[in-house]
Symmetry: D2
Subunit: 352 residues, 4 copies
Amino acid sequence: MIKAGIIGATGYAGGELVRILTGHKGVEIKWYGSRSYIDQKYYQVYQNMFRIVEDVCKDDNLEQLAEEVDVIFTATPQGFLAGLLNEEILQKVKVVDLSADYRIKDVGIYEKWYKIEHKSPQFIQEAVYGLCEINRGQITEQTRLVANPGCYTTCSILTAYPLIKEGLIDADSLIVDAKSGTSGAGRGAKVPNLYCEVNENIKAYGVGNHRHTPEIEEQLGYAAGRPLTISFTPHLVPMNRGILVTEYARLIPGEDGSLPSYEEIRAVYDKYYAGEKFVRVLDQGVFPETKWVEGSNFVDVNFVIDDRTGRIVMMGALDNLVKGAAGQAVQNMNLLFALPESEGLELVPCFP
Amino acid sequence: MIKAGIIGATGYAGGELVRILTGHKGVEIKWYGSRSYIDQKYYQVYQNMFRIVEDVCKDDNLEQLAEEVDVIFTATPQGFLAGLLNEEILQKVKVVDLSADYRIKDVGIYEKWYKIEHKSPQFIQEAVYGLCEINRGQITEQTRLVANPGCYTTCSILTAYPLIKEGLIDADSLIVDAKSGTSGAGRGAKVPNLYCEVNENIKAYGVGNHRHTPEIEEQLGYAAGRPLTISFTPHLVPMNRGILVTEYARLIPGEDGSLPSYEEIRAVYDKYYAGEKFVRVLDQGVFPETKWVEGSNFVDVNFVIDDRTGRIVMMGALDNLVKGAAGQAVQNMNLLFALPESEGLELVPCFP
Amino acid sequence: MIKAGIIGATGYAGGELVRILTGHKGVEIKWYGSRSYIDQKYYQVYQNMFRIVEDVCKDDNLEQLAEEVDVIFTATPQGFLAGLLNEEILQKVKVVDLSADYRIKDVGIYEKWYKIEHKSPQFIQEAVYGLCEINRGQITEQTRLVANPGCYTTCSILTAYPLIKEGLIDADSLIVDAKSGTSGAGRGAKVPNLYCEVNENIKAYGVGNHRHTPEIEEQLGYAAGRPLTISFTPHLVPMNRGILVTEYARLIPGEDGSLPSYEEIRAVYDKYYAGEKFVRVLDQGVFPETKWVEGSNFVDVNFVIDDRTGRIVMMGALDNLVKGAAGQAVQNMNLLFALPESEGLELVPCFP
Amino acid sequence: MIKAGIIGATGYAGGELVRILTGHKGVEIKWYGSRSYIDQKYYQVYQNMFRIVEDVCKDDNLEQLAEEVDVIFTATPQGFLAGLLNEEILQKVKVVDLSADYRIKDVGIYEKWYKIEHKSPQFIQEAVYGLCEINRGQITEQTRLVANPGCYTTCSILTAYPLIKEGLIDADSLIVDAKSGTSGAGRGAKVPNLYCEVNENIKAYGVGNHRHTPEIEEQLGYAAGRPLTISFTPHLVPMNRGILVTEYARLIPGEDGSLPSYEEIRAVYDKYYAGEKFVRVLDQGVFPETKWVEGSNFVDVNFVIDDRTGRIVMMGALDNLVKGAAGQAVQNMNLLFALPESEGLELVPCFP
């Protein structure tokens, strides 16, 4: 039985980790870290867990945790883990970090977009970017530190990856218009996240400077084989869960000037995803909806070729707290401990 | 492996049956009945089931179904099953009926409230009212027909049952003010159920004549040991899932005129529910919220003694599609086949 | 042109005052008081007012305000106005207080339910309870201080008032089950009011101890001609605006034991409300819905006689920010300055 | 007093016309046309209008209507008006058509995208496209037929118009990602518009083939001085009202390769909109939110220059039922009768 500790267990992503690990046969949660609720019963914070979790919340003690568990999940603000991580810890325990601290290989880019100094850049190179469908081979029992991808990034990357990897679209023409439910904003008590401010409303935010932009660019840049610059615009949608991305790119015409056919594009998606349990390429003409993946680890993707404009419209949907956070973290943990990759993740989407 | 068939598999309750049975280790769904979608892939109706269910929808053939499966779930309009059920079918297969056809023992009351003629009253006495926490002993491998309780009724009854059973409240003073999410209205395309009509709105409906009233009265009457008349008012709430009931009743004072204490009332709830997996009596001062039971088979209950008025306010919450319909139906099936009662129902509530 | 000042102009009720007064021909807002946003443009707090209001927010200076305006609206926390009001101010300016400070005549009850000391009880007797439909005669050009009723109370009282006044129901049997949109909780940044906590959820709160209880009891007690004790339970509903109350009471039978007829009850409602612009008694069988009054100063009421139980179910709906707060405050202001009572309040409900 | 008739008065756009015209001093509604509700009281369909509108619904008789009123609003399905309009009618009455029948000058394009035959193409050239801010000069007392623009199109065009008109962006690079509330789908009883299907969900639809595409292309083509092809993708958002568009285009660099500055772009927006009452160019860094224009005739616009990609991101928000339909129709009517353009449209947005 793997022993797990969670730092930040009372945020929304932390809560989802608890929900998922509770149903995971090979894991036992030994530490519910939550600085705000120390010594309170965990279920008093999340009453859905009443009669399911009896433990109390503990302080965020990374050193002690490293002694007591096999894997630590950090669902914490940016900079938290980078400020505490050290070699001793990594020698004792595996870490799956749900923050952005080790996602970006170029520390200068990290510091520029996140506007904080990185306190432990020495671990950045070692960290594996935990997008399992793409980097599965690098997430092994030898891996010590996994940078769990961002919610928008997971959705944005997986939706476009096959076409960029195969050179079918002009990567610099890529525009990602993303829409997210409100749990992505976290559980902090701020006026813009109040019910009455979000409900019956939609808005863009972080236009031109959202922090997931360089993360998408870096990963899709690896696929393209060269650096990329993309447009990324997130929007806040009045719903709890779910991310939908709508991505636009110029299709590269063949030598005769014609665009690829539906079948050709579809074959490329199938090449990468036919064997992937958690990526569902929908039937032709069926577009992703966030409700269809709610509560599950699925990413649904599809596309439309627009002959009029020479562009392709790609769409992807996931649950930001599952495949966009806690579910993917568990998927990474399964790989780290050589468990079946879908263990604990056979979550059937809930509709309606 | 138990073979199950579902009639009405593409309604919301039917869909929830599919979701739950998909995760049940001892059952295999052999028949997805849906007159509206015959020969269509089930997942084309509910894309959340894409890559999970590959079967096509079939017609509603009860005779044939009885040959092929061990248990039939009917998630159908009132009168449907009563019009088709016969002795041959019941000799071959167990039936769990999610409609109201066999819930009310007095056929006159059924016909008066439902305004339809009952076509097979001969099975009413045999049918067991499948409120497991109360009637568990009667739901056995010998039982052929289970009348699965209504959503409002399950919540209303379980919230008040211990106090009525023990004679602590004046049963005739009982007022049930119930609030339901919109999935309770079903998937029929009607103007009052459109998004724009329900959203940002709350209303009462069926005031004084909702069909769940006699069902509550009958069952609580058994508990009281005499016939009861109650007030029941349902409301439509802008959310997908969940029922909350707020119940008011006069506490019967002791001989010295004093009201029972919190501890005394609590002890009565514990007497009936301490051993029940699916009924959670919350801590003092914590009131049920529908979100805390969403997606699970739990009923959360609690109460407040109001010394000023001499009344008690009881509250209960459940997910109308799970404990209020499909989950309870599976709980009944488990009892019918002597499986562990919570098999397939270890569903952790999803928050947020 | 009446000059008005608002203290607490950036809360939800204050914002609604601004919206309504902006369309009022006889009033000019001279002071947008908001301690939290001093010197910021009002429209920067509420961008809906961009290009409509150019003023900046000012501090909460009641003394100075009394010099500059004819009427002050205080949309402030309990105890704020009571702590500042004095005779000099009242000699210079009329005050419409949207808080509870002067609603309850018995200062002991106020202090017990609000758990604060009342700092200026000398003005309580003078204050007029501004429920216009009932106290219209007392709200005149001579009145200096109006206690604007609470949102739940306005709805609860108006729904039951005619029947209590005429002695048709047993006032002690009255149970008020109330449901409110989330703007009633104010704009404070608290976790329970976050979008993800409220959305897809319904709960009771303040069971047995909500502060609007004694206010309802006092006012309905005047109607009954004796003190009353009622049950009042508020619920939080996932919508921005709107209150629905469902009220239960025992009908007093006639000498022959028969209940009053629909026509008799209807006649009593008409006696009180037929001439009231803002109270709409709906047609028989049509139940109030909060969406039908949204954005308007209407209260919609109706009732059902339940012969089975001998009870009547009364229902009422209003917009908590309009008739439940700012609209009623403007209605009071109109009376204070002998303007047409509906001036600025000809707001057509917005649907959907 | 102008006499107005509405065909399709019980759809959502028709209902909004009634709401707005009810508050318009210069107009009287003489005809509430609704084939589905003939002889029913209008308020029985929309109870928000109880005690405000006493008329009954009438059949859709265009001939008779032309005798009785000065202006007809048609809020009807595509093809309805085109099938009935004739010269006699237009000689008697002005028509503001909220459908798409006369919006597109090239009847071939209309028939291709709408997949219906146009029955009265002889009036297409005469019809004026009623986007007041752009075509104001053509909407006069001489105009007989106004093609009221679509909801998505109004928002999409006004957001990009100044930059295309002034040649600051590469018009062929324009991508419009649009998000709409559900009232845009109308009041038809269809499963995809049910509450439970829309709530907690977001999806794209009509990808690559939505009918507003050629309308946007035609109008922006006039601004560009040449035909355009754009990408347009609408999304369904769980809210009642509101459209947000996020538009992406390549900025045309100056001769020195540098991009225009914020101030230069802003000056262009101000050139076109500084004098427009209903278009609000927000302050720098403030992005449009649909909630800020709800219930009003405003369009809020703003933009961000993305130096990294050389693109500009333009955003626009309106209420689809007001500026996107009924409000704009009234604005057109005001121009047709030489009334003040904002008469009846001084609607303050409602927040929250």
